[in-house]
Structures are given as structure tokens and as C-alpha cells.
Symmetry: C2
Subunit: 353 residues, 2 copies
């Protein structure tokens, strides 16, 4: 059980599962004649980026200009799927000079600013809101879209590409039918836009809808990110099987409390993040899986991360099993939200090949 | 409003408030004849550590061996207030050689392991559980305590110092009376131990009890950490005033949605953490404050961080105020849990002096 020699909390990445997830999404995009522009905010890793490259992927999505700068070392076609932060104009100009940069806008102020400050060409997506209500323009607000397009046209540095959307409300789904319904509503709104702007590219696709949907009418590009790892939240949503989850945290056991049948691990909110989900046991922060040669297997029934503080995690253990664990061993735990966990664990990762 | 020239999410540290918080706790410790061994997991900064040094503090607490190693550059008396992770024996031996190291134990397995593997002397605190039930030995379990003490005695490398406790349940308090009651129960349990082990040192003290309590009978040392910054959670608990909070996040405004009276900021779960609290508005992740020369002032009524995703934050704004904000400005937001926010923002901090 201790072949991994885990000294401190470590993110384990199962290369086989991870590559299978990548291949699955590439096949899906090919089947539907879609460009796959995967979101790299999940792994934030040049190494895993290379696995995508090996499959022929050459366009990516990121969620900040800092991330774009990081990936611009090896990638030359990057969409920043985040409302343009005009305060980072220096980074924008630096990137626009060297790569094919796509920015997202949803207001005239940003477009005005970019028009006057850009030194190289930038491609523009207009973000529309297809029901998540986090960001993006109402796709029925044709007058605002036209205002933006007019300003884009007047600039010799800006080039309008199309519309993009993120159906983040799919994360509240619990069945494939829910996911497909949300996806369908997004497609309807996008096809409404295509009637006004038939030349526009359409880019959509969070992990739940990209994993489950089979109708991509009118869509040019999908941008799922989380699927590369998946996690317990995606499993609860219905996007994946537990066996598809390609990352897990290995955490040393530092204390065992027989009386309340709990194990204390070195592994807390600064490692897992405090993302949580509600399941049959109440709020949980992770699930323990069986260790196997070269990775991990099934979920250990009844064993879950019940709370996290800064560095501590408390694992609930079935009473009959508590005696089988010892101080100095480790537990392997599937995270609730792999994007957040991987962001925290950038420096302490291990790839299991 | 934009004198700070905030380009990306930045943790602002108000040096005056921070030093006042440090001074307040130093005065309190002096008044009660206590050693102040502040917990440095909150700021994790050598620079802020220096402010403590300037006030004469020379002993600190941390929550991991990695943190002990970091601070051992400038500190030579460090308690790791976390169940000893025996898998890090190399780090333990490295530290024990150069500094006065205090470890926490709560089981015989760790003591056995340390006895056989230590190369230099280490001071041992036994952690007892005074009601938080996260970690520590039941203080009534005298037989286990005696087992540990016997093994400590048999080792020429281990030196028993005393008992320490963390009343983390104080975080559920909402009034000074609740906090004092929890503190009192802890003192009772510790004084019970002193009857058995009159030579033992007693170390206690989370931020709520250290801020509020005035009875420290039998206590030798307090170890609060969060008080250096405080935060909205501590304010809700009743440990501090809003005006004592010494850190705030400055986040660029990237989108404004008049229709739903919301501002989208660049600043999400990877900046604030996903720690949250329930208040009159429901779940909140932060509160907006007024910007002032050299810092910030009052909370802007009705303006709070209502949700965070990886990089986005959504701020709810009173309808009549939404028109006063513009893209490219920034908001200043008090965090819910400053320890978690500061951990995430180590690389992007600015001290306002």
C-alpha cells in the first residue's frame, strides 16, 4: 500500500485515464465536425498540454491573460474566455505580437479601449449569456451587439470572429436529460444569432454538455476543460463514470481516532480547495478510493472526506475498517472539483504512467 | 479611485492596522503574563514576521513542516501545531539540527518512530482535544498520555514540554459570551491535566478566544494566528471590528450588468478561496469597502461578493449605485477567511504603509 512513498499531499495524475479522456473528446469533436479548443485552466500544465498536441490539437482556451502568457511558450492560438481585463493591456499587446490571440468582449467600453491601445491584431469573440447569468450579453440584445460590431469594424486591429457562450448552469444538472435540455436551449439562442449574423463562428461547450450532448447543429467549436481529469462533481452531474476520473490526491495519515472512526490526513483546504458537494452522507470534500498497482480502483464505500481546514482533512471511516489503517500510510482521495485542486497542487504532482 | 493601478487581483495589506493588531495581542499576552507564540500560517510571510520580531516576538507556530522550513531562515524557535507527519522525517531531522523544534504528538506510533529515527533533540507537545474533535487526545485518557510520556522519557532525543489545545469550535460562536464559555471549558480540561502533570506547560489560544477572553489561569502560552489580519468570519464570530481587518482584495472590474445590478470582477476561487459565510443576504464570499487614500474605509452597504468561480467573482450592487462604476476600475473587497486568501495570494501582495 505504500509503494508510492507519499511524503506530503501529492496530486496523482493517471496518464492512461487522462489520455483516454482526451481521445474521447477528440473523437467526439471529429464525429461532429467540430474544432476542439480545450480549456487549459483545468490542468495548467505544459506537460499535459503536450498530450493534447500529440493528438493533433493546436488551439486552446484559457481563463486569464497570465495563463495565456504561460501557455504562449508552446501554443500559438489561444482564446482567453474571460471578459477582457483592459488593465492588462501590456500583456495583451505582448501576446498579440507573437500569437494568434482571441479575446472576449461584452461591452463597448472594452472595445473602445482596445481600438485605441492595441498595437497588433486581435480576434474578437462576443460572449453571450445563454442562461448561466454570470457574464455575457443577452443574445436578444441585437442593438448592443451591433454597437460592438460597428466599433470592431472601424478598427484596423480588431477582427470579429463570432459568438461564444458557456452554459455553466449545466453544473446544476443531475441527469443526461437535464444536460441535454440546457444544451438545446443554448443551441436555440445561438441559432437565433446566426440568423442575424450568418458569417459568425459559434463556440460553446462546457464539460457536461460536451460530454453528453450529441446534437451540435450550427456549432463550430467546443471548449470543454474539466473532462481531461473529471471529478466527483462531474460524476454527480452525470458527465462521467467514477472510473474516468484521472486525478486523485494522495495524503499521509497523521492521526487515527478509533472512538469517532475518523482518520486525520495531511491534506486540507490549501490542497483540495474548499469546493464541496452534497451527497447521501451530507456535505463531502472527496471520496477515498482503493489503491492499486499503477493507480487506484473503486471507491471505498462509506469512506469520505467530511471536512477540511487549512492543512487538515478529516476522513470518515466505517468502524469495522478503522483498524486496518496506520499512521504514516496514505489515503488516495478523489477530489470534488479537479480544476481547483489542480490549481493548488501545481508544484506537487506526480504522473502515474 | 484608481491611484492603486490594480492590474490583476492583488492582496492589499494595511500595515498600520496589521501592526495595531500585533501590538494589541502582544499587550494582551503581557497583561496576562503569557508567552505569545503567534501562528504564522495566516500570513506565511517573512516580511510580516519581521513586524512581530520588531515587537520582540521570538517564538512562532506553523501548521506544516514545509512552513517550518520556510520560516527557519529567520526564526529559531518553532512549534509545528499539526499531528507529526512521520513521512517527513528528513525535514524533521534537518530542522531539529538547526532550530529549537517543537512537534505535536497524539499517538504512540509517532513517538516510537521519532524515538528510533531522530538525530537531534526535539521538544514534544501532546495535543489534547478540548471539544473541537478534529484532532488531539481526550484529556481524560490518562492511560494513553502516560504511555506516550513513558516512551518520551525513554528517548534521549525527546523532551516533553506540555499540552496544547486548539478550541476550533470557537468559530461557531456568535457572541463574546459563547467564546468565553468555550474558552472556560478548555481551561477546565487543561487544569484537570495540570493536577496529573503539574510540571507541564499549557499552550492554547485560537483567535476568537485570544481576542475576547480575559481569564488565562494556568495558561503559559497563546498561539492565535488570524488576528494579524482578521476577516469577515472573525467579525461575524465577534473577535474584531470591521475596521480591524487588515487585508483586502483589490480586483479589476471586467463587466457590468445593469439589468441584474451585478459587477463581474477578475477575482475568483483561486484568489479568495471558496470559504464563505452565511449572513443576512445569504451565502457571501466577501464585502466591498470604500476606497480611501492609503487604504479603505467602511463597508458599502448592500455590496457583496455573491459568488465565485475559478477566476470570476460576481458582486451584487444596489441598483442606484451600479452606474457609478466603470470597466477598468477596481473594487476593494474584505475576504471571508484571510488565512485561505493570503495563502492563495502569496505572489500578488502589496503593503499599504
Amino acid at each position: 500500500m505504500n509503494d508510492l512513498k507519499i511524503k506530503i499531499p501529492t496530486l496523482l495524475i493517471d496518464e492512461v485515464k487522462c489520455k483516454a479522456n482526451i481521445k474521447m473528446m477528440i473523437d467526439k469533436a471529429e464525429r461532429h465536425d467540430l474544432v476542439l479548443r480545450p480549456h487549459f485552466k483545468t490542468h495548467q500544465s505544459l506537460k499535459i498540454g503536450q498530450w493534447f498536441k500529440d493528438f493533433g490539437v493546436n488551439k486552446i482556451t484559457v481563463s486569464s491573460l497570465l495563463m495565456a502568457k504561460y501557455f504562449s511558450q508552446e501554443w500559438s492560438d489561444i482564446l482567453v474566455a474571460f471578459p477582457t481585463n483592459i488593465n492588462e493591456i501590456e500583456t495583451i499587446n505582448e501576446l498579440a505580437k507573437t500569437i494568434k490571440l482571441y479575446l472576449s468582449v461584452e461591452n463597448v467600453e472594452s472595445i473602445k479601449f482596445l481600438s485605441s491601445q492595441l498595437k497588433s491584431s486581435v480576434n474578437i469573440y462576443i460572449q453571450v449569456d445563454v442562461g448561466y447569468h454570470r457574464t455575457g450579453i443577452d443574445p436578444n440584445n441585437i442593438s448592443l451587439i451591433n454597437d460592438i460590431l460597428r466599433m470592431v469594424d472601424q478598427s484596423d486591429k480588431l477582427k470579429f470572429v463570432g459568438f461564444f457562450a458557456h452554459s455553466g448552469q449545466s453544473y446544476t444538472s443531475r441527469t443526461p436529460e437535464d444536460i441535454k435540455q440546457i444544451h438545446f436551449e443554448g443551441l436555440q439562442l445561438m441559432s437565433g444569432l446566426l440568423k442575424h449574423y450568418p458569417f459568425a463562428k459559434i463556440s460553446i461547450g462546457d464539460t457536461p454538455t460536451s460530454s453528453i450532448a450529441e446534437d451540435f447543429s450550427g456549432v463550430d467549436e467546443i471548449r470543454p476543460g474539466n473532462f481531461v481529469f473529471y471529478d466527483l462533481m462531474q460524476h454527480q452531474i452525470g458527465s462521467c463514470e467514477i472510473s474516468d476520473i484521472a486525478v486523485a490526491m494522495a495524503c499521509p495519515i497523521v492521526a487515527i481516532h478509533n472512538d469517532r472512526s475518523e482518520i486525520v490526513i495531511y491534506g486540507g483546504g490549501v490542497h483540495f480547495s474548499k469546493d464541496r458537494l452534497e451527497d447521501k452522507e451530507g456535505i463531502i470534500y472527496g471520496r477515498v478510493v482503493e489503491e492499486q498497482d499503477f493507480g487506484w480502483g473503486h471507491v471505498v464505500q462509506g469512506m469520505y472526506l467530511k471536512s477540511v481546514s487549512q492543512e487538515h482533512g478529516i476522513v470518515s471511516v466505517p468502524q469495522e475498517m478503522i483498524k486496518t489503517y496506520s499512521i504514516g500510510e496514505h489515503l488516495i482521495i478523489l477530489p470534488v472539483h479537479s480544476c481547483m485542486t489542480a490549481d493548488l497542487m501545481k508544484k506537487h504532482q506526480r504522473i502515474l504512467a
